[in-house]
């Protein structure tokens, strides 16, 4: 054999091996990218269970939400094929579908023996254009947590039922040492835009003229939305703890866990943390209540998260095996028992005596209240549009500017309408 032929043969063999080896590795190893929340942190501890159940191994990577979005965008646009299962928030799913980043899993989901055990609302949140794009693992809704001792000391035996009452109670509860109410104010579609619509919608405000009817004319610059924003700004500025203008969910949770505020309105997972004696200094003096209502009713926040398969995932069968295992009643039950995770999406888990005992032990009304709040929530609490991440970011900045008194409330809403119009026209 001539030296050049030998060289070419060696190179060819090397190239063939380099192509073949990753294929073999990918068949057995599932790379899962998730962002941090009690369910995902619990799931990461169960990698060995997945291997025992399926024979595959899973590398579960749990990262911060902001970092996750950049990491996954780069992976999707680069078509790197390095992610087999991806955390799929329902709020992003329309954008990802439009970009062609997700693989439909309609046949796989419809073929599941336990599909009917999954709550229909969260399951159908991923039904877009007639296809299913992810399986849910989490359906969080809004909830209030409050300090019974501080409200009692201010002369209130019950938490505020409306946002107007909240203003009154907050004024009575606020002291130099303790803020009355903490909510997310940091700008972002998953930050202040997770909580602000609870107040805006309670006063009759909306993002669009008639979202359900298909009229997507921006409609935030209305007296109703203004009334909601005025209440939100006043509650945060006059009765919130110092520095509330930059609070995100971490600071909100920490503020009630450490006794620096009397009330919070946030998601159920944050309320569960406030009630957890291992995480909260005042857990035995904290109770929970419904999200306050307004003249237009009650509109608790809702967030659904699921697991999807990227379009470029090299081994979709193994990916779906992971998703099926990760959202199975057995896995969800384990996590519900080990973590503060009351947001499971299977009816059988909600009926599991151990799970019921745990959450009734935290608070007797927890599961019932969660179901009530889910019933009050509207699916398009945050509009389910491909443009939402961009709209949520820019409107969140305007609302944050208003709360921090950089813009007037009126200007913030007018600017939001103009910004939404710009985005929708592109």
């Amino acid at each position: 054999m001539k030296p050049s032929m030998l060289k070419n043969a060696t190179l060819g063999a090397g190239l063939a091996m380099s192509v073949a080896l990753p294929t073999v590795a990918v068949a057995d190893e599932i790379n899962v990218v998730l962002f941090a929340m009690p369910y995902t942190q619990g799931l990461a501890k169960l990698e060995a269970d997945f291997e025992a159940a399926t024979g595959h191994t899973a590398n579960i990577e749990v990262i911060g939400q902001d970092v996750f979005e950049n990491r996954i965008t780069l992976s999707f646009t680069g078509q790197t094929g390095d992610v087999d299962v991806v955390h799929t928030p329902v709020i992003q799913v329309q954008r990802w579908i439009e970009a062609g980043w997700l693989r439909p899993i309609t046949a796989e989901v419809d073929g599941m023996a336990t599909k009917d055990d999954i709550l229909a609302g969260p399951l159908d949140a991923y039904l877009v254009n007639g296809d299913r794009w992810a399986l849910p693992f989490f359906a969080e809704t809004g909830m209030m947590a409050y300090r019974t001792d501080l409200l009692a000391a201010a002369g209130y035996d019950a938490p505020p039922a409306t946002w107007d009452e909240m203003l009154e109670v907050a004024a009575a509860v606020k002291t130099d040492q303790v803020g009355a109410l903490a909510m997310r104010v940091a700008p972002g579609q998953g930050f202040n835009m997770f909580v602000f619509p609870m107040i805006m919608r309670a006063y009759g405000g909306a993002f669009f003229t008639d979202y359900s009817g298909g009229d997507l004319t921006p409609n935030m610059n209305t007296p109703e939305a203004l009334a909601g924003l005025e209440v939100y700004s006043q509650l945060m500025n006059d009765y919130g703890p110092e520095g509330i203008g930059n609070f995100n969910f971490g600071e909100v949770a920490a503020s009630i866990q450490s006794g620096q505020v009397a009330m919070i309105v946030d998601g159920t997972s944050i309320a569960a943390r406030a009630l957890d004696p291992e995480q909260s200094q005042f857990a035995d003096q904290i109770s929970i209540a419904a999200v306050p209502s307004g003249p237009a009713g009650r509109s608790p926040a809702i967030a659904v998260h699921g697991l999807g398969i990227p379009a470029d995932a090299p081994n979709p069968e193994a990916s779906f095996a992971f998703i099926e295992w990760a959202t199975s009643a057995e896995t969800l039950t384990k996590i519900a028992l080990s973590e503060p995770y009351p947001d499971f999406i299977r009816a059988s888990v909600a009926e599991n005596p151990e799970v019921v005992a745990k959450y009734e032990g935290i608070h007797p009304d927890f599961l019932n209240l969660k179901v009530e709040m889910l019933g009050d929530a509207i699916g398009h609490y945050r509009p389910l549009l491909p443009q939402w991440p961009e709209i949520g970011q820019i409107v969140g900045e305007n609302i944050n500017a208003a709360v921090n008194e950089i813009m007037s409330n009126e200007d913030a809403l007018a600017q939001s309408d103009a910004d939404i119009a710009d985005i929708m026209s592109e």
């Binding site: 902001d66 439009e98 620096q260 970011q393 921090n404």
Partner: protein
């Protein structure tokens, strides 16, 4: 073939890996960025073809972009002034006033080796009133420390303070090196002639430090144009858009609004801005050094 030619050839060959590395890792991405800025590429909508200078004309009309330049300049100019003043004062102090405290150099350098994300987390907790030990301390005396991160200029000041803490050691080290290059004979001669320590500093040391100060200010200015971790972690660009510097705005356009080409146009602007500033500073430096 002469020895000189052989030497030149081997010199070129040895240089080739470095040249290739620069071309692959610096020049090509830069060319790609320039190329993207003349197109319409959106992560969601895909390829929209070439658009010439459209993205740059759009920049001129973009209020958020113009506001981001103001934020960037406030962060950069404020940061550079504080870092240069603080770094220079400490360097002069350690070298000229209390030389027996030289061991302090190691301590002062510590913030410089802390990763940017950790710096941001440290200062985020210090500026969050409910988490801050500073607030807790002043609360004992009934003094309320204002919440920096919730006001427009407070948030900018907070980022400048955090950046100054992390970056003044760089200035200090370079100025220390420059000070060691100034002959002590000059100080002694001035002292014999009756000059005070302040006069020596203002009339001799500082003028001789000018080239070093100019270069270190340029380095820091270019670095501060790239502010990102501090903004990302401490403020998310808020309150409102008060701390959305230009490169953070490029990130928002690219990753949150999916406008990759527009984000590239902003990056091109930043590159040209830094290049022009560098050119003028280098020219000024040459003039000072030559004088």
């Amino acid at each position: 073939m002469g020895v000189q030619t052989l030497f030149q050839r081997s010199y070129n060959q040895m240089l080739m890996p470095a040249v290739l590395a620069v071309i692959i890792f610096a020049v090509l991405p830069l060319v790609g960025m320039f190329g993207l800025s003349f197109t319409d590429f959106n992560l969601i909508k895909g390829w929209g073809g070439e658009v010439g200078l459209h993205n740059f004309f759009k920049l001129a009309d973009d209020r958020r972009f113009i506001a981001s330049i103001n934020v960037m300049l406030m962060l950069s100019v404020g940061g550079v002034i504080f870092q240069v003043v603080m770094g220079t004062l400490i360097a002069v102090g350690l070298e000229k006033i209390v030389p027996r405290w030289k061991f302090m150099r190691g301590i002062f350098v510590v913030p410089f080796v802390v990763p940017a994300i950790a710096v941001a987390l440290i200062w985020l907790s210090l500026f969050t009133p409910t988490l801050s030990p500073i607030n807790a301390f002043f609360d004992i005396f009934g003094i309320t420390v204002p919440a920096f991160l919730t006001t427009q200029y407070g948030a900018i000041a907070a980022i400048v303070i955090a950046d100054t803490w992390a970056s003044f050691p760089f200035v200090m080290l370079l100025i220390l090196a420059a000070l060691q290059g100034i002959s002590s004979d000059l100080d002694e001669a001035a002292s014999i002639d009756g000059a005070t320590k302040m006069q020596i500093f203002w009339r001799i040391t500082l003028p001789l430090l000018k080239p070093a100060l100019l270069m270190v200010a340029l380095f820091r200015f270019i670095e501060t144009l790239k502010h990102f971790p501090l903004i990302f972690v401490m403020t998310n660009g808020g309150p409102g858009r008060s701390t959305q510097a230009t490169n953070y705005y490029a990130y928002i356009q690219t990753f949150q609004s999916s406008n990759v080409s527009y984000g590239a146009a902003i990056a091109v602007f930043l590159f040209l801005f830094a290049a022009i500033i560098s050119f003028y500073v280098a020219r000024a430096n040459a003039r000072i050094s030559g004088a």
